[in-house]
Symmetry: C2
């Protein structure tokens, strides 16, 4: 960061099934909440970035930048950024570039998705747009299918049992109980996870993040200061298709983004107290923790088997919000909502650093943001 970017305001809708609200309604609700919480006014916003993946498919609506700007009295310049489920992270990165370049001083970033209006088969097809349509979708894969393959291979390589994997979703569900914005606020016993319907072997329904509606918005500013600032904003990219990679049990984009993010923030991973990570499927949480260096390969599960306080890192929470599994995963809203949750956790704990890890597809795009509290 060549200048300080502050988290000046934030707000979100509850994530879940909003049968009575359109994409536009969800967007408006999150914008209003973010502005309400901010030190600045709507008129101080000089640029808008909207994260959205599949608005065209779900709501016949592209051009969401202009739609969002229409909610502000002066409709400032606006655009949409997309990188599948990492749309939130790339929108934040774009906002940081706009701020650092001096093109804007205060940017409203909104992530929004309205997924429950179309049939599950159509949603599954739309989400496969995050993979390579010629190489992956063409052979009949869906995303649960891709992560089923990944889980199968991971369990073989690292001797992870189905019972161990249950601990991931169980922990995330337990965490969500206190989160008023979470889609599912219910403790689910570990054994229930693998007893839920099999979706793509070995993954069961309760290993998979749900289909959700929701919006989250933040206001980033170089002008209006706040105790939380962005210490790093980094993106990395891998091949779009998993068929082009040397391994499927580790994601190069997460590793690359993490290395760059720690370098940019000028900290070590031991300085990080709170993580919100991209658990689109339970197995993704373990791989992501390992790729970020919080566990050795194959040992990510230890962070779910033991209390975090007994592990040697300074970590005090992983997906304290409930993560994608329990909060819900309105895909492009997730990356923005993670920032909101990490900042809340930092304010509550007083800890100095938190991290949001958001990826798209099978981590073909990964965005990592590190927040710093002064």
């Amino acid at each position: 960061m060549n200048q300080s970017i502050y988290l000046t305001g934030s707000g979100q809708t509850r994530f879940g099934e909003h049968w009575d609200k359109s994409l536009k309604d969800l967007m408006e609700e999150s914008i209003d909440a973010a502005i309400e919480s901010a030190d600045c006014t709507a008129l101080d916003i000089d640029m808008v970035v909207v994260a959205n993946m599949i608005g065209e498919m779900t709501s016949d609506q592209a051009h969401l930048g202009a739609m969002a700007a229409s909610f502000l009295p002066h409709h400032p310049p606006a655009l949409r950024a997309e990188a599948a489920c990492a749309s939130g992270a790339v929108a934040l990165h774009t906002a940081c570039a706009l701020l650092e370049s001096g093109k804007a001083q205060t940017v409203l970033v909104i992530g929004v998705e309205k997924m429950t209006d179309i049939s599950p088969s159509k949603i599954a097809a739309a989400l496969m747009g995050a993979a390579d349509s010629e190489k992956d979708a063409a052979c009949g894969l869906t995303f649960p299918g891709i992560f089923g393959l990944i889980a199968t291979r991971y369990m073989y390589e690292h001797n992870l049992s189905r019972e161990q994997l249950n601990l991931v979703s169980a922990r995330h569900h337990k965490n969500a109980i206190t989160n008023p914005f979470a889609q599912f606020r219910k403790e689910i016993p570990a054994e229930t996870i693998s007893a839920s319907p099999r979706v793509a072997d070995p993954l069961c329904m309760l290993d998979c993040s749900p289909i959700s509606d929701g919006a989250a918005a933040v206001i980033l500013s170089t002008k209006f200061e706040s105790p939380i600032k962005i210490a790093a904003s980094q993106l990395a990219t891998d091949t779009l298709s998993i068929t082009d990679r040397p391994t499927i049990t580790s994601f190069a984009a997460t590793k690359d983004a993490m290395t760059s993010a720690l370098e940019e923030a000028d900290i070590s991973r031991d300085d990080i107290s709170h993580i919100e990570l991209h658990d689109c499927f339970s197995i993704a949480a373990l791989i992501s923790l390992e790729d970020m260096g919080f566990a050795n390969p194959g040992e990510g599960i230890e962070l779910y088997e033991k209390p975090l306080s007994t592990i040697h890192y300074a970590l005090s929470s992983i997906n304290a919000s409930g993560g994608l599994k329990a909060c819900g995963h309105p895909v492009a809203a997730t990356g923005i909502k993670q920032i909101i949750d990490v900042s809340k956790q930092m304010k509550e704990s007083g800890n100095m650093y938190g991290l949001a890890h958001n990826f798209g597809g099978a981590a073909a795009t990964c965005g990592i943001h590190i927040l710093q509290q002064s």
Copy 2:
């Protein structure tokens, strides 16, 4: 611009009906051409921005940033930017922000669209995503319908005849004869325009830009210098729905972007010699020329009735490429292709300034880029 951004490389596919090529093929062809023309190598590219509007609808493919990055050996960080038909302009603006912020030194920007693989009715519906799906699409409007209303009102307000309007498309078609990348390289007599099938009264088929496949790519750099640089990159936004505006015969976003762009480039409009403007429909060319201040309201047609050399501005060409009408309009590729054409015109004429005007929807988003030759 807080630092110089050079147009280091550029390339495009022919715009047209590419039955034998996928979105991915078109993207690859334009990337190869841009790198081939550049002073840098593929490995010098440290960020990728892809402009695309409806890849999910036409090719079941989102996540085009990662797809584009997959074509480069080191797959650098990448994202997609979208603002309907102004996706090219917002991608260029995003690239400028990434460069000016120091997040990147050399950015590959690709605009791509593969529109001929789905039925005309589906394309018409997909393109309506550029308008407000709740206010505009819901009453049965299509984009030819919106611009039909605009043309009707404009002709009433300014007493423009159908015969006069014919001159716009006729001139653009004539210009395209020498452009090897144009979809239609054929002179069309003015009277043929209004004799073509009526699409949305008073607009006929030959008033409308066609459905096209195509890709265009540029490489922008702060590191690799070239004789052409970006003197201004400005976006402006208006209400998404035309129903929320005080007038439909003038576009506030074009006016706002033009004012800001001239200010950023620190020039007057009289310094501009070449324009590529957004003639998605013939009437849009007239309105755009007026909104940019090259003609008084209602007098844009004079720029098509008289030789440009007899008008008092320094303008030597408008849509010398053939514009959207004759080049074709693979929507997100248009804004990038305009930059390529303006730079070619400047190199050929030796003139110092050229301008690309690209809008989305009914100009709910407008992007204006001014190029400068040293």
